[in-house]
């Protein structure tokens, strides 16, 4: 499938080149991985646990891990929502399925992370393939509603499965164990979980940055801008969309598997539509179709909540006003805002 899009390019070198040329203005610095930012990310990821420890704020590592896990989920949604322009309102379905797949295995006494990864990838991949194959036949508002409907079905299903907690949720005592024998690393260790989570996030961001300018990525951007034209140009639009949908679903599932390891708990609420809404809000807040959008959005929203909650019990109220301000005054999201601030500073020089 991946090979088809370049073939379509090769058949008519002039026409797609024109389209890609036009689309190239859309591929700005935000879709590439800024080298400085990448280095900052790696150093911050390595050093944060020690900095927090030195400050006597070790507790915040769990908040940081939560941010990173949400960032993985938001980044995966950004692939569908931003890059492919498919407004999926049911992304929580995949995060939740990943969490349940791992949670159920652990509760059944299977702790090997290989099995967890296999189950998560298989379950979410199959679910995304099924949901995507049906949903992608619709478009626009109907796509939004169908993806929402599937997520809601899974929400009610999780509520009714009494064997795995039902509406009360599933508590797990053990965690995933990476490796085996002398090299076994239990994700119960917060430090291990942190490094695994940032590694997954880093790999996702790197992959996303490579994806944007790649031939496959450009093909996806073309179909986002005008999928009728993309189809007329010979792109296998349906299969491209399905590929993106499945990859994003699986990555969302991995985020879910990590979150159940962090919290030791999974409940049907992870599948509720407000969770899908929250992930969407993170992506839009950070910046649609930008590499850093998911991370910036997740970090901003969760830190905002954390800070506000320290001062007032009505943190939701003030979070709402901040989000409204972003919609009205930062139309490209925070990444766009930062980018334009940097540009205007550069112009003034």
């Amino acid at each position: 499938m991946a090979a088809r899009a370049p073939e379509a390019n090769a058949d008519r070198p002039d026409v797609p080149a024109l389209k890609v040329g036009a689309g190239a203005t859309a591929i700005t610095a935000t879709t590439h991985l800024d080298r400085t930012l990448a280095i900052v990310f790696v150093i911050a990821a390595l050093a944060l646990p020690f900095i927090l420890d030195a400050l006597g704020a070790g507790y915040y590592l769990s908040l940081a891990s939560r941010i990173v896990i949400y960032a993985i989920a938001a980044t995966s949604l950004n692939l569908v929502l931003g890059y492919a322009g498919l407004v999926s309102f049911g992304h929580a379905a995949f995060v939740g399925l990943g969490a349940y797949a791992t949670g159920i295995l652990v509760s059944e006494g299977v702790v090997g992370s290989g099995w967890h990864l296999l189950a998560t990838v298989a379950v979410t991949g199959l679910a995304a393939l099924t949901i995507g194959a049906i949903s992608l036949r619709t478009r626009g508002v109907y796509f939004i509603m169908i993806t929402l409907a599937f997520a809601q079905m899974l929400f009610y299903l999780a509520n009714s499965v009494k064997g795995y907690g039902g509406d009360e949720g599933l508590n797990i005592k053990a965690r995933s164990v990476l490796g085996f024998g002398a090299f076994a690393i239990d994700l119960k260790n917060p430090l291990a979980l942190w490094y695994v989570a940032v590694a997954v996030l880093g790999a996702s961001l790197l992959a996303l940055a490579r994806f944007g300018p790649s031939r496959l990525g450009r093909a996806v951007l073309v179909l986002r801008d005008d999928d009728v034209r993309a189809e007329a140009l010979g792109f296998p639009t349906y299969r491209l969309k399905l590929l993106v949908f499945v990859v994003a679903g699986v990555l969302g599932g991995v985020a879910g598997a990590l979150s159940v390891n962090l919290q030791g708990y999974v409940s049907p609420n992870v599948l509720h539509w407000t969770q899908s809404g929250t992930l969407m809000v993170m992506v839009i807040l950070g910046g649609v179709a930008t590499v850093w959008g998911g991370l910036v959005g997740a970090a901003t929203l969760l830190l905002l909540q954390e800070v506000l909650a320290a001062y007032t019990e009505h943190w939701e109220f003030w979070t709402g006003w901040v989000l409204l301000a972003v919609v009205l005054f930062a139309r490209q999201g925070l990444v766009g805002l930062l980018g334009s601030a940097r540009r205007s500073v550069a112009e003034r020089r």
Binding site: Y156, W321, L324, V327
Partner: protein
Amino acid sequence: MSGVLLIEQALNGLQFGLMLFLLAAGLTLVFGVMDMINLAHGSLYMVGAFLAAWLVGLTGSFVLSVLGAVALTGMFGMALEAGLLRTLYARDHLSQVLATFALILILNDGVKMVFGTDLPLSAPAALAGPVELFPGFQYPAYRLLILGVGLALAVALYLLVQKTRMGALVRAGASNRPMATAMGVNIRALFTLVFGIGAALCAVAGALLGPLLAVQVGMGENILILAFVVIVIGGIGSIRGALVGSILVGCIDTLGRTGLQQVFREFLPPQWASAAGPAIASVAVYVFMAAVLAFRPQGLFPARS
């Protein structure tokens, strides 16, 4: 299932469907005419219910309180439309989702600040008992009232949209907004009024369902999604579609809950049957939507030709 139970459940389904219609009517017009995804529509339902419960505490009269809540929510809706939502019509769907999601947070917490997380609201004492509709069949009087009000409002709304000049302008806007504007219809001003009416209808549903469900923060979130399902089934922008869709969804949900439970009891352990029934009934609504969209991608009564 016995005949009496079936009639009772059918009436319950119809009643729930009519209340859903009150929400879906406003939602489908906002969506159909202004192409706006308003996630905060369910919050207006919550605001209406809280205002009604608060007014009952002040005045002691259920009828006065419902009327007051409807008027206040209508005005609140118009202020919201003119002050904020209007600027979002021209924006893409994603911005609308973010902005109205923010509104949900603000309204949920705002209501919590003013009224607390929940308020008691009970049906008027005069309607507390059952009424014998025919020998051997009793039905709660309050539910009968909801049924009556819902039917009356549905007819009134239908006449308003289908038979009046204002309704014709709204329908023109739903089928082709640029054309309606070019013909000299002031869609913006008209729409503030339409939004106010939609908000008032939400308040009716919130105030009337309050005694049956519960008046609490977050009550709008689940019913909002059902209202979206309704308008997608009915066809976005169509009042008639919203009515048909609401009643179908109301009946599937209500009959499914009890009916499936009965069926499952035949061959499943009771604790499984009582859990699986409601879950599958909730799923049935979405399966129905998927089936409708498979055969009629524009919904049952598409507004745009």
